[in-house]
Amino acid sequence: MKDDLGLKIGLEVHCQLTVLKTKLFCSCPSNYRGEDPNTNICEVCTGMPGTLPVLNEKAVEAAVKIALALDCKISESMNFFRKNYFYPDLPKNFQITQYDKAGGSPIAKEGLVETIAGIIRIRRIQLEEDPGKLSYEGTIVSSPISLVDYNRAGVALVEIVTEPDLKSPKHAREFLQKLRSILEHIGVCDGSLEGAMRCDANVSLFGGKRVEVKNISSFKEVERALNFEITRQKTMANVAKAEGMETRHWDDVRRVTVTLRVKEAEEDYRYFPEPDLVPITISKEYVADIRKRMPELPDGRKARFVKQYVISEEIAGVLVGEKLLADIFEESLRTRMASNLLGSWLAIDILGYLNRSEKTLADMKFKPKDLAELARKVEKKELTENTAKSVVIKAIEQGKSTFEFAKEGAAITDEKSIMDAVKEVFEANPKAVEDAKSDPKAINFLMGQLMKATKGRADHELARKTIEQAITAGS
């Protein structure tokens, strides 16, 4: 994306506090996934007349952890506000959230997150309740009705609002991945759960009006939605249509944004202090205690990986980009062997395969220590790296919890067998053998032929050494 577009992207990320057992203001179980519609509901989270909210103690702790992880200033006292607007997924037709004006104070503000492409400033983070979930018959546009499930209503969310510091759709995705890894490291939000991290994006171009895109449910979608929206706004600008302030909905089926509502003016949410909840003080001691118990964060872990396991910054960076990946890596490496090999398998080969095949780390059914054992075998030359990798990929592909080797699959490491194979290859390729005497590139060709003949099982180093010696001996 070129800078002269005057592109400004800011994100509002809603993260469910999946670590909590109950919703933010009532005792309903917060894990609604896999439940029938409208089963995890009570009189409070469905907004029955006369009910009152009471704050979940653990929600504050989780939010403080996030605030610390994002380097925010934590408020000494926070309070809740009502954000008033009507919508069918909102049981009370107001959302209990936090606010930074009119005497309001969210749990924290002014933080930052470092990404490769630069620092993202965090404007504020706030605790609020999730609305219910709407579904449609077909798409949001074509459906003649909407169906409301209040199981999600009242689930605790932390909304993280960034400054418009994101440079491109790709950068937005990078930031979100980093954020997810941070949240997973502090153990408050499991980003692998569908809908646990959702984001709204604000985009403006050429200094035009801000357009808000809602309903972005995954990080891949963020990049797609933003790219679509930027192209759309560029086209609009080219035909000289003025952009009004607008809220659009990302239709992830058709992969387009559609108008949800055009704002005549700044939306009037009529914020005022929630009268049914009392202020919460967050003492220095309380924060200090949580800070003491804060687990290692991705950046710290990356530095440690580089130092402790002697792996490259790049590989370490990829590994800590996903907590589970880093965990598997460390779990595999209790004995600190084969760290480079394992690091690059996980960060490049396995992750690459997973991304290509739309699988996740959860599809890896084997034990990390078995994976480490495999790497160790390669290091001990009992197995070629190629064989090991293909065995691993096959195991993921088939969902197997153990590695299976073809009968003839073991690495060929004894000198005699290699020598026999080299002889066969030399007999079949006399021209190349001749060329190799003056052109080292021909050795590569012979290596290739040898690996082909041994189905890749020949130990690389030994085979090359044997070929080189045979050529030298023959000239």
Binding site: T22, N38, I41, V54, E57, N93, P144, I145, V148, D149
Partner: protein, 94 residues
């Protein structure tokens, strides 16, 4: 505040999601103006250095333990006028 125009009344009714008849709009614009005018009595008091009393008692830090309790979802769902299966049915969104 000069008064409350029919336009103002219509905008507020839109915000509050209340459909009004022409008669109601008319009566409201008159009555609301009278009442808002009465409220202006507060302008006589200097409150520059006064904090708002959002909460009348100084209660702070009230929490609930994070312990789940299953409620009575069927009794609640039964109250919805329109349903489809276990979903609450609403008209279209866009």
């Amino acid at each position: 505040m000069k008064g409350i125009s029919r336009e103002d009344v219509r905008h507020l009714a839109w915000l509050a999601k209340i459909e009004l008849s022409a008669q109601e709009e008319e009566t409201l614009s008159k009555q609301m103006a009278d009442i808002l005018n009465y409220f202006k009595i507060l302008d006589k008091i200097d409150t520059k250095s006064i904090e708002p009393a959002y909460h009348v008692r100084e209660v702070k830090n009230v929490f609930r333990p994070d312990e789940p309790r299953k409620a009575n979802p069927d009794e609640i769902l039964k109250l919805a006028p329109a349903k489809k299966g276990r979903y609450v049915k609403a008209p279209k969104i866009v």
